[in-house]
Amino acid sequence: MDSLTLLLILDSTVRLAIPLLLACLAGLYSERAGIFDIGLEGKMLAAAFMSGAVAFTSGSAWLGLLAGIGASVMLSLVHGVASITFRGNQLISGVAINFLAAGLTVVVAQSWFGQGGRTPQLTGDARFEPITLPFADAISAQPGIGPIYQELLSGHTSIVYIALLLVPVTWVLMYRTRFGLRLRAVGENPASVDTAGISVVRLRYMAVVIAGVLCGLAGAYLATALQAGFVKDMSAGRGFIALAALIFAKWRPWHALFACLLFGFLQAMALRPDVIESTIGISVNGQLLDALPYILTVVILAGFVGKAIPPRAGGEPYVKER
């Protein structure tokens, strides 16, 4: 494999890892606060549709992004009401949200655009355009660093840079601020947070809404940056891969970045079977590559590569002492 092919594959690794990363961070906030969220997939899908639809009608990708975030946060609030206010089962609520999004996006898309459950193709300003980083063209001729800078680091859409920036932001927020400390505490031992006079309900709602915003970014990225418009079921299990990445990363932000890059790399390789064959000499089955993130997660869960221990109060509704 020559260096250009490698660069192209790494480039598409980044592209494919970004929605995973955003959804994974969303899950991180929610689960660190003790709210299991298997509805990442549905929120992403709803955001993809709304951002695609609004970007098409308004012609602005940024308005689309806002609408996508709005749709995702709405679903987050449903999850919040069910699992925080009414102390329902968080897993069942997540399942319901996934189906709600899968059904509603198609029903509404058909009603609005009549194209069989998709939005029309987005063009021009309705999509996020790649940003060329400073000097990218100037130093592209430099051997070594030049192509890496130009191909791999430069030329992505703004959401990519936002997502990458969110990793250190999340780390600082989680481990270096009072909010982060409380958020982590509420996922481990909500009673102690309650005793300290801080509202468990409020903190958990905040976490759930942050998760909604991040899933909104992920969905908007799918419909208005990675592809040009919404198509039915376009999240294609990414929410679950993100969940897998979250476990793989053991609920830590930097590890989440690497887990998502790894899974993004697997997805990128699955798109280029020819490269795999020429590199290692044997043809690796595409289905195996598709299934690999899930298999890896099960292996991690089995505890063969260190134990993944979720936040202790995860999935448990908090009941104030009576």
């Binding site: 329902g88 029903v107 089995a302």
Partner: protein, 367 residues
């Protein structure tokens, strides 16, 4: 504590949830510019208005009875098996092997063999998640989700390679031999001059599903194992103290659950398609969640809920045929049912509890 009376718990709460889901679905239909009442009429007409419609309704219901029972058995042990979809895919594989590679003389023997094959394959697919839950504490929900994706990838792999007959373009196995053809309702109930259920896929496995309901009822409420499963589900530590092994209960209840989900394949693979096709489970594994929640994890409730969802499925198909409402509307209804009967259960229950408390307080005064 003011608990609801049993009849309210069993009948009123699910009905309220259903009503809420129906009202919201009606609003969705209204919002996309169609008439909810007209849509409902069309669904009733299409799904229940003819033996043909019933044939489809009961065909779908058969799938949902199996997957609903699967979810319910696991629920009783407080395990949430989201893996019904994957287990049903594997069940299909079991049925395909049994039908393709064993020369059956008659369908009545073939269905026994296929049921066993489907159950074994389904149970096998639940084995690892169960083991990881029991021994490693890995969350069963996450592992079964992962196993769903793996099952889809595995079937995809087999159907574009090993199991595809040479020269075929479809991602499907060869057609099963004629001796494995299950009698459809049309074969069974038609008379010479009055053909019933014409062309509808409902078949003899509907009765296997009913038998499965009875078997699950006996298992859960009339055997020692069933008692242990329920005890474990209600109070894990008390069950442990009473000498019930958590590992045993988790393993057995998950494998029964997987077997039931797998058994769905005698209906959709053996009864309808008569070959294994990619994607033939069509989300029935997930609908099992809605069916189990709606049916309050009881076989009778599950039977009724499965017929209801069979009606929704067939009615939804008719809607998509005659109106601009796409089939995905059923997915919305399904989501709302799961939301209200499962996650927002307390929201439905609270006003009812208040209402009953009100009645209880006024009653003695009146007497």
């Amino acid at each position: 504590m003011n608990e609801l009376p049993k009849w309210a718990e069993v009948v009123l709460v699910p009905l309220m949830s259903l009503l809420l889901a129906a009202v919201l679905s009606g609003l969705v239909i209204l919002a996309i510019g169609e008439s909810p009442l007209g849509a409902f009429q069309l669904m009733v007409q299409g799904a229940l208005g003819s033996t043909y419609g019933w044939g489809y309704t009961l065909y779908y219901a058969t799938n949902f009875i199996f997957t609903g029972l699967a979810v319910a058995v696991a629920f009783h042990a407080r395990l949430f098996n989201i893996g019904g979809e994957g287990q049903a895919i594997l069940g299909g594989l079991g049925v395909a092997f049994v039908c393709l590679y064993i020369p059956w003389p008659h369908w009545s023997l073939a269905i026994v063999g296929a049921t066993i094959g489907a159950a074994l394959f389904g149970a096998a697919w639940a084995f690892l998640p169960a083991l990881l839950q029991a021994k490693r504490g890995s969350h069963i929900v996450i592992t079964t989700i992962m196993f769903n994706f793996m099952a889809a990838a595995l079937l995809n792999y087999l159907l574009i390679g090993l199991l595809k007959p040479a020269g075929s373009m479809d991602t499907a196995t060869a057609k099963f031999p004629p001796a494995t053809h299950l009698p459809s309702f049309q074969d069974m109930f038609s008379t010479a001059d009055n053909i019933m259920f014409r062309g509808a896929p409902a078949n003899v496995s509907f009765f296997v599903a009913i038998m499965a309901c009875i078997a699950v009822w006996i298992l859960l409420w009339h055997t020692r194992l069933g008692y242990e499963i329920r005890a474990f589900g209600h109070a894990e530590s008390a069950a442990k103290y009473a000498g019930i092994s958590p590992t045993k209960i988790i393993m057995i209840s998950m494998m029964i659950s997987g077997a039931l989900a797998g058994m769905m394949a005698i209906n959709n693979v053996m009864g309808e398609a008569e070959r294994l096709i990619l994607g033939s489970v069509e989300g029935a594994g997930f609908i099992g969640i809605a069916v189990a929640l709606m049916g309050r994890n009881h076989p009778i409730g599950i039977f009724i809920a499965a017929i209801l969802f069979g009606f929704l499925y067939q009615g939804g198909a008719e809607l998509a045929l005659w109106t601009a409402i796409p089939r995905e509307l059923i997915v919305v209804i399904q989501a709302l049912v799961i939301l209200f009967t499962g996650a927002l259960d307390n929201m439905v229950r609270m006003p009812l509890k208040k209402l009953f408390r009100l009645f209880r307080r006024t009653e003695p005064a009146g007497v």
